[in-house]
C-alpha cells in the first residue's frame, strides 16, 4: 500500500448517521397483546369459519359435521362413558408399547454406542430394519400374534424403538472427546465416564428421539386400531365410518390430537427440567 503524505478524503464527512433504535421505553410499555392470545386467535378463527360455512350450508352435514354438532356428540359420548373407555384403552396401549420400545432402544443403543463389538452386531441390522415401514408389518403381526392386544402393543413398540435407537446411538457417539479426556484426568473410570459424561451428553438427542417416537407411536396406534380392534379410539372411528357419522370421526381425531399434544407437552417439560444446563436458542 502506498500512502501519500497528505491524506485526501474521497468523501466529505457525513453530516448525519443513519441509526436504528435497539431499545427504548416504548418496548417496555405494558398492554401489548400477550403471546398466548396471539397463539389462540388463528385456531379459533378457523373453527368459527367452519361453523359459519356449515350453518350457511356450504359444508354439507353428511360430508363434515359442524363444530357445534361435534361438541354435542362429544358431550354425549362423555355421558355414556364410551369416550373415557376408548381413551383409556388407547392410552394404555401406547404406554405399554412405549415402555417396551424405550427399554429395547436404550439397551440396544447403549450396547451399540459404548462397545465396538456391540456396534458391529447391533447397528448394521438396526439400520437395515429401520427402513422397513412399521405399518407394513401389520399383516405379519396379525399372523404371529392374532388380533388381541399383543399385535397393537408390539406395533407401537416397534414404531418407538427405531427413532429412539437412532437418536440415542448418535447422541452417545457424538460425545465431545475433549470432555472424555478431561474426565479421564479427573480420575473417572469407565463407568463414571459413561454416567457423568457420555449419557448426559446424549440426553438432548435422546429427548428429541423421544418426542419423535411419541408421534410415531400415535400413528402406529391409529393404524393398529382401525384395522382390527374391538375397543379404543380407532375402533370407535372405524365403527362411525360404517354409519357415516362424521361427528364421531371428528371427535376421535380431536382426541388423537389432544393426546398427541399432551405427550408433546410432557416431553417438553422433561426437556425443560433435564436440559436447563443447555445454552439453547429459544426463538424470539
Amino acid at each position: 500500500m502506498t500512502t501519500t503524505p497528505e491524506r485526501t478524503r474521497v468523501q466529505p464527512p457525513p453530516s448525519a448517521v443513519e441509526t436504528v433504535t435497539l431499545a427504548s421505553e416504548r418496548d417496555r410499555r405494558p398492554g401489548r397483546v400477550p403471546r398466548w392470545v396471539l397463539k389462540t386467535i388463528s385456531p379459533i378463527a378457523l373453527i368459527v369459519l367452519w361453523q359459519v360455512l356449515s350453518s350457511v350450508g356450504v359444508l354439507d352435514t353428511d360430508t363434515l359435521a359442524s363444530p357445534v354438532t361435534v361438541a354435542e356428540t362429544a358431550a354425549g359420548m362423555w355421558q355414556d362413558g364410551s369416550l373415557q373407555s376408548a381413551v383409556l384403552t388407547s392410552v394404555l396401549r401406547v404406554l405399554a408399547g412405549l415402555a417396551f420400545g424405550i427399554v429395547a432402544a436404550v439397551v440396544l443403543a447403549t450396547l451399540a454406542g459404548l462397545f465396538r463389538r456391540g456396534e458391529d452386531i447391533i447397528d448394521a441390522p438396526m439400520q437395515m430394519l429401520r427402513t422397513v415401514p412399521v405399518i407394513g408389518l401389520i399383516p405379519l403381526l396379525i399372523i404371529w400374534f392374532g388380533i388381541g392386544e399383543t399385535p397393537k402393543i408390539v406395533l407401537v413398540g416397534l414404531a418407538v424403538t427405531f427413532p429412539l435407537y437412532i437418536n440415542l446411538y448418535s447422541g452417545i457417539r457424538n460425545t465431545d472427546s475433549t470432555l472424555i479426556e478431561a474426565s479421564e484426568t479427573l480420575g473417572l473410570g469407565w463407568f463414571g465416564q459413561v454416567r457423568h459424561v457420555i449419557l448426559p451428553s446424549a440426553m438432548p438427542q435422546f429427548l428429541t428421539g423421544l418426542r419423535y417416537a411419541l408421534g410415531t407411536a400415535w400413528l402406529a396406534l391409529v393404524f393398529g386400531e382401525t384395522i382390527n380392534a374391538t375397543s379404543g379410539i380407532g375402533y370407535e372411528m372405524n365403527k362411525a365410518r360404517e354409519f357415516f357419522a362424521t361427528d364421531v370421526i371428528i371427535v376421535c381425531l380431536v382426541l388423537y390430537a389432544i393426546l398427541g399434544l399432551v405427550a408433546d407437552m410432557i416431553v417438553r417439560g422433561l426437556e425443560r427440567g433435564l436440559l436447563s444446563w443447555r445454552p439453547a436458542f429459544s426463538g424470539q
Partner: protein
C-alpha cells in the same frame, strides 16, 4: 502400542515430580518428540515454551497419561491435575459439581465451595457452566484441578484465550495458588513475560527435545522493569527465533 514403554508412578514425595528419559513419540514416520530427557523437582514451577507445533502439548498429554503410545521411560507424580486451553467443564453439571467430579466418595459440596472461594468464585457455586465468562470458567477449571491436591499440575496454555487484562489477573492467581499449594507446575505458554513472571525455570522445546533450560533467579513478585528480567526476556525471545 509402542515397544519398550516403561511407565512407573512415583509414591514418595522425595523423588522428582517428573522424570523422563529417552522419550520418543512418533506420529507416522515423524518423531515429534525424540529422545527427550526432563526432570522436574517437587514444588518447582517450570514454564515450557517453543514454536507452535513443536510438541509442547504432546509432551504434556504424555505426562498426563492421555497419550500412551510412546517409547522411553516416564515417571510422574501419582497425584496429577491438568488444565487445558479450554476449560472443559461438563455443561450438564453445576459449577460446584464440576469441581469435585471424579473425587472418591459422595460429592462434597463444602470442599467445592472452599476451592471455588480460593479462586474467587464463591458467588458462582450453583450456576451452570454456560453462564460463566471465559475467565470465570478457566478459574473454575483451576479450582477443579487444585481440589485434587496434586503434586504435579500440568497447564496447557490455560490463559491464551483470555484478554490481556484478565490474563494478568489470572497469572497473579496462579502465582498465589502455587505458593499456597506448593505443587510442581509445568506451564505451557507462548507468553515470554508470563513465563518469566511465574516460573523458577524456563524450558524451550526444539527439534523434539528440550533445547534450552535456564533457571530464573529473580525475586518474587517479579518486576518487569528489572534489567535482569529484561535480559532474560531478550535471551528467551532470541531462543524462540524472535529478534
Amino acid at each position: 502400542m509402542a515397544t519398550g514403554v516403561q511407565r512407573t508412578v512415583s509414591d514418595q514425595r522425595t523423588v522428582d515430580a517428573v522424570s523422563v528419559r529417552g522419550l520418543t513419540r512418533r506420529f507416522g514416520d515423524r518423531a515429534v518428540i525424540s529422545d527427550l530427557d526432563l526432570d522436574i523437582e517437587p514444588g518447582q514451577f517450570v514454564a515450557l515454551l517453543g514454536a507452535s507445533g513443536c510438541g509442547k502439548s504432546t509432551l504434556l498429554r504424555i505426562l498426563a497419561d492421555l497419550d500412551k503410545d510412546v517409547s522411553g521411560e516416564v515417571t510422574v507424580a501419582r497425584r496429577r491435575a491438568v488444565g487445558f486451553q479450554a476449560p472443559r467443564l461438563m455443561p450438564w453439571k453445576k459449577v460446584w459439581h464440576n469441581v469435585v467430579l471424579g473425587l472418591p466418595g459422595k460429592p462434597d459440596r463444602d470442599r467445592a465451595v472452599a476451592a471455588l472461594t480460593e479462586v474467587g468464585l464463591a458467588h458462582r457455586v450453583d450456576v451452570w457452566p454456560k453462564v460463566l465468562s471465559g475467565g470465570e470458567a478457566q478459574r473454575a477449571a483451576l479450582a477443579r484441578a487444585l481440589v485434587r491436591e496434586p503434586d504435579l499440575l500440568l497447564l496447557d496454555e490455560p490463559f491464551s484465550a483470555l484478554d490481556a487484562l484478565t490474563r494478568i489477573t489470572a497469572r497473579g492467581l496462579v502465582d498465589e495458588l502455587w505458593q499456597r499449594h506448593g505443587c510442581a507446575v509445568l506451564l505451557v505458554t507462548h507468553d515470554v513475560e508470563e513465563a518469566l513472571a511465574l516460573a523458577d525455570r524456563v524450558l524451550v522445546m526444539q527439534d523434539g527435545r528440550i533445547g534450552y533450560d535456564a533457571p530464573v533467579d529473580l525475586d518474587r513478585p517479579r518486576d518487569v522493569t528489572d534489567p535482569e528480567f529484561q535480559r532474560l526476556r531478550a535471551e528467551l525471545l532470541a531462543r524462540l527465533g524472535v529478534h
